[in-house]
């Protein structure tokens, strides 16, 4: 591997100014290699969500540089970052964030629409992705007709339908019970092991983080610990 997938170079993220100034990130250095499954932990306000947004090219650093696939993504404009997201990054959110009153397969097709993939191919890819997350037979259901776990599976299918390089997951099990959480984590671990999908996941639950191969903990905008799990290597 010539270069890591994700590289923070002294990244600062500052909100407000003067007295109200808050450093959400205070000079963070971090690299994530291809094929890694990294859990990002930390109490609320520790900067883990900000780091996540920057990794996902949704946000840019105030100071320092952020490289994604060796591209200075921190310096790109909105539309170029949108393109990076569309081409290389899949998102899974805590609240699923599916479009209401839109069927599962249509939700999964959404990123392909913005790529300009023609209709028939789009449908085929979306059905394949739904199959990978074990939702064959539920294509025509709307989010309201699916359970929380099923909705999160649709969201994962939507994230992987474009065959992304990086999957960014923000508290993917936050709204699920233990059994459902376990299933989702097994799905993510499988995608990581079998397809070599790089995953960056924010969580505040230790047992969820335990599924990852590496745990990075943020405290007060800095990385407090960065541990690789032995048996995962």
């Amino acid at each position: 591997m010539a270069h890591p997938l994700v590289r923070f170079d002294q990244v600062w993220k500052t909100y407000g100014s003067g007295e109200a100034r808050v450093d959400a990130l205070a000079g963070v250095d971090l690299t994530i290699g291809r094929g890694e499954f990294v859990a990002i932990m930390g109490p609320s306000g520790s900067g883990k969500s900000t780091a996540m947004n920057i990794i996902g090219c949704l946000d840019t650093p105030t100071r320092g540089r952020y490289f994604f696939m060796n591209v200075d993504a921190g310096g790109l404009d909105r539309s170029r970052r949108a393109l990076l997201r569309n081409l290389y990054i899949g998102f899974v959110f805590q609240g699923y964030n599916l479009l209401a009153r839109t069927t599962a397969v249509e939700n999964v097709e959404l990123p392909l629409i913005y790529r300009g993939v023609p209709g028939r191919q789009r449908r085929r890819l979306a059905l394949e992705a739904l199959d990978k997350v074990g939702l064959t037979g539920r294509e025509g259901h709307t989010p309201a007709e699916l359970s929380g776990g099923q909705q999160q599976r649709v969201a994962i299918a939507r994230a992987i339908v474009t065959s992304p390089t990086l999957l960014v997951a923000d508290e993917p099990t936050g709204n699920l019970d233990t059994a459902r959480s376990q299933e989702i984590m097994e799905l993510l671990t499988g995608l990581n092991r079998e397809q070599g999908l790089t995953i960056a996941m924010v969580t505040h639950e230790a047992d969820i983080a335990a599924h990852a191969g590496r745990i990075v903990t943020f405290v007060d905008g800095r990385i407090a610990s960065d541990e690789a799990k032995m048996e995962a290597a």
Partner: protein, 402 residues
Amino acid sequence: MIWETVRLALLSIRRNALRSVLTLLGIVIGVAAVIAMITIGSGTTEKVKADISKLGSNLLVVRAGGAPQPGGPRIQAKELRAREVQALVDGIPEARAIAAASQKQVRIVSGTDSLSVLVTGSDPGYFIARDWGVALGREFTDQEVRGNANVCLVGETVRSQFFGAGDPLGLAVRVGRMSCTIIGILESKGFSGFGQDQDATVLMPLTTFQRRIAGNRDVDTIYISGTDGTPMAEMQEKVEDILRETRRITADKDDDFSVRDMTQIAETMASATTVMTGMLGALAGVSLLVGGIGIMNIMLVSVTERTREIGIRLAIGAQERDILVQFMVEATVLSLIGGLIGIALGMSLAGLASATMSIPFAPSLPVIALAVGFSGAIGMVFGFFPALRAARLDPIDALRHE
């Protein structure tokens, strides 16, 4: 991609069916008003043109009294008399017909029915000059005019009111204090552009009218009809010269009579109604603008409501442009639907109006095309600002939006 967007727009319009319908109403009313106004207006213009040409083409109309000067009093003048008519007949041999006519609104009676009609006294030239034929029976003759015969022709309204389906020829009708024998039915002319029933009329010899109805020897109007291709301006000048001479008007005095070219009047009237139509259309256009603001309002609400959806779309790789197009297409589709409904409604209104007011139904394709284009443009213009607002949303904030 664009079809995808249109489909998406239709979907989201259907999701908020009630709200969409209420929003549409503004555009529907606006477009319907414009279409109805312009269609009825151009129908009226046609009607006015047709009416005036029904008065007869190549027609000069002479009346006593000068044309009023702007701001000045109407010139008092002595009435026209048989002398002037004779001078014109002698002086203008190239005229197709010269007819002297007088009119009065009179109540006519038959049996127990009575009706207020316009009674006209004239001579046989009237039928030619006014381009008015006889549907049934015959015209009166020069001989009857000379002999003050108590004969008359009645209009279609009089016939149907008094006699229904029966044959009125040879029957008598009371006109004021006289009784006259019906010798003919005039062709129907329908309503004039000013809403007057032109068939509520009785026509009799001028001499009979002067003696039995008016009680004087005045002539209200002299109609002078030229043949096709007669230079009317030249003829008008000739008429004026003859009348000045006959009425002994010295060179330093203004005319105490007026000579009007009906073709010119027709054009003036038509252009006046065209201006009216334009103004009414513009007024209706204002309501379109209001409809457009309604669309903008609802699109802003829609953007706020769907902030999270916009956030999701931006996060998974939608470009600003994609969001902008999505919301603009939605606004445009919305107002286009309103435009189409408005056209249907406006056309029905215009059709109804033309049926009840007996004016021609004159749908104008350019106006319809314009209405479609305009309503689409309104969607785009008023949809742009809300769409831009949606496109500029920060995906992180948008995703956090509840």
